[in-house]
């Protein structure tokens, strides 16, 4: 086992080396100072430089979202909060502020109630940050084979029983943390959400000039992307409507900045 942990350490070394970046820390601090002095435009400017340096943490997007909100740009703020939650679904502050801003612009708007399955999924996601799930996965990855081996080698039936059940439970958690990590990884790489950036974008029944306008989607609405074509995206609105909008009218969450 010693050899394995050593191996992990060696694999991690270059990553640790990258983590120290004084420029980034400085920029971040500048952003916070500007925010505290109510120079929200400066704060936005500082925070916006960080993703290019490889800093794409939930906290960063959360701060950027706050600065946008203070600047009176709720659509950008919503995008940032959504991005923060995409990176870390368990970011409570981002969730709170997202709901707050949404409430402020769309008070009383119709939304489709989430299914039970989605609620359970959301509950599991919001338990821990994806980073914590990954750490858990790595720990369980080490523990599980050990427990199984102990089970195989134990002589007395009581011991065998104990380790059998223990292994089974750990295996369930192992699968769970693997699943959550995989889903978080997948959704981060393939975000299916977008925030409407134009003041009011018509939603059409077909891409292109054919078809008719179904509804008008408001500035700052979060929509699900179902399909991409060249200039148009097929979206599902919060109220369940499905249609096409110009891609230029929506800010895809896969981008680094709104």
């Amino acid at each position: 086992m010693k050899r394995i942990s050593l191996l992990i350490l060696v694999l991690w070394l270059p990553v640790f080396a990258l983590a120290e970046d004084n420029d980034a820390a400085l920029l971040f601090q500048q952003g916070i100072d500007a925010y505290n002095n109510e120079h929200y435009d400066l704060a936005v400017e500082s925070f916006r430089q960080l993703p290019a340096l490889g800093y794409t943490s939930a906290d960063l997007y959360y701060n950027l979202g706050n600065a946008y909100y203070r600047l009176g740009e709720p659509a950008n703020a919503i995008w940032c909060y959504e991005k923060a939650l995409l990176i870390n679904p368990a970011h409570d502050d981002a969730r709170f502020n997202l709901e707050f801003v949404n409430n402020e612009i769309f008070a009383g708007a119709n939304t489709v109630p989430p299914s039970v399955f989605k609620e359970i999924r959301a509950f599991i996601y919001t338990l821990m940050s994806p980073s914590s799930w990954i750490v858990l996965l790595i720990i369980l990855q080490i523990i599980l084979p050990v427990l199984v081996l102990v089970f195989f080698f134990s002589a007395s039936s009581r011991k065998r029983k104990l380790f059998f059940y223990l292994s089974a439970v750990i295996f369930v958690f192992y699968l769970l943390s693997f699943g959550v990590s995989a889903w978080a990884y997948y959704s981060l790489k393939n975000p299916s959400k977008a925030v409407i950036s134009s003041q009011s974008a018509p939603v059409r029944s077909e891409p292109g000039n054919g078809g008719t306008d179904i509804v008008v989607v408001e500035h700052g609405s979060t929509v699900h992307i179902l399909e991409h074509s060249d200039e148009w995206i097929k979206i599902e609105l919060p109220d369940g409507n499905i249609g096409w909008v110009l891609a230029a009218n929506a800010m895809d969450l896969s981008m680094d900045l709104p």
Binding site: A24, S57, N66, Y69, I138, I142, Y185
Partner: protein, 616 residues
Amino acid sequence: MRKTLFILFFIGLPVILSAQVKFSAYSDYVSVPAGQSFTITYSFSGASPETFTKPVFNGFRVIGQQSITGGGGFQIIINGQVVNDTGGDSKWIYTLQAMKPGEYTIGPAKVKASDGQIYTSNAVSITVTKGGSAVANSNSQTNSGGNSQTTADGDEPVYAYMEAIPDKKVVYVGEPVVVSYRIYTLVDITQYGVDKTESMDGFWIEDLVEPLSKAKTWEETINGQVYLVGEISKKALFPQKSGNLTIPALNVEAILQIPISNGNDPFDFFNKFFNDPFGTDPFQGFGSREEERTLSTAPIEILVKPLPEEGRPESFDNAVGDFEVDIDLSKKRCLTGDGITLKITVDGQGNLMLIDAPDLEVPAGIKLYDPDITDDIYENAYGLAGTREFEYLLVPEVPGEYTLGPWEFSWFNPETGRYETVELDAMELKVAKGSGSGPGSNVSELEQDIRYISEKNPRKTLMQQFVFSNPFWLFFAVIWLAFFIILYFMRKHIKLRNNLTEFKMRMALRVAKNRLKKAARFSRDGMENEFFQELSHAMWLFITDKFAVPISDLSVHNAKQTLISNGIDDDLANRFAEILQACDFARFAPVSDKGNMKELYDKASKLIVDVQTGVK
């Protein structure tokens, strides 16, 4: 002349038929001062008229009009009275009021006669002077039919007219102008009705006299004539904006009882006799005719001054007048969730209807609802007076001691031209925690805002970069590989304790019990040989399964040793060996002993239970 005429009889007088058509216009004055009224008479004779087109009276206001259409020189007696002989003339008489000084020409009127011809009258010139007295028309025509005006001024008096009298002409915004609409009349008015209500832009209007109530009346002497004055409407107008505002004219349709003046009518004697035999009028309409006239007031210009900016208190909110303000809190102590009322009463004279609820600031932790407004407002001579009550509902949500107020209420007093402010005293309110269903939480939602930014230094999302990366898969692969390598090399060791062993161990007791039951059945049926065989078998299987001892390694002789080496204590091992030996012995001995069978069975059962509970 709309009234139906009852022609009772005709007196055959010589009929003078004039073949010549005559259509003329004349006024009773050639020059009048502005504001004075005069009449223009259009007289048409010689044919019977069908339609009359009046000229445009530019610069004049029509305050009365009448028409007399005659018919062929008959004398007509109506209701027993001789009506003046019109001599075949038709007349249209307009009473005009001069508005502005200047020279005016009143254009000709047109008549279409029954023969289809159109006749045009002459135009009339009139001079309106600024002041002075009127100059009568010297050649004021006397009618050929003898219907000439012979009154002192040579004119029919102004029987009725209307005036709108404002109490002031210069006011502040919000200060009421009380306008009294009065009808001045010399004759009886049987009926009147307001033509239409003009829209009064810029005013908030309150009727001070109920529309259906009887008009207040009194007498006034004007120009030597005693007029009966009826106040038909009184309105308080609250100007809502500054500047020159116009109160539009009011038109009233009235039916007048005009006495018939016959001048030098030959029947005047009879007329007078019938008309006023005893100084009273025995019949209505006797000696008079009903006539409908439109009475109008002149528009009134009101100068509305804006409220001064200087010295305007912050709490000023539209109140103009003279007020007293009172404040009252329903309770001094209460529980959270209770409702408390806060009453602000504004009492006085002024634009009470237009006073907005004062904006009250209450301490955080108390919820303030919009006030209910109750009015008790009546009209008096100066406009509106009374009280307006603002009743606020307060719901304390957090326990504590609060100070409500002090608040201010201010208004503009137009009398003094200054703002006045009254301070409403601060009030103490003690709130204890309530147990009720009210919002009794200690934390009440005040102003909501987003949460503060995160000041944690940004980290690169290391874990998320690591997951499913190549090093990650390598790490997984290494661990699982190591796991399987260990399993492979240790497989022999593991095989000894494979799953089958485990299963057999757990099943040993059940199998043994089943066999013992079978043995018991043999014993009941008296099959001794089978009984001992089954019992021996059960014991053997139990040992081999339970302790994973290969059956080939066992014999009656080494059973004891095997058991001891597997951790069973000596006593149990001995008993086991005994039972096995006894079974073997009984199977091969011909002796039948039922008691022995029972004893042996009990021993075996007990032993199995003991082994099961004793095994560690």
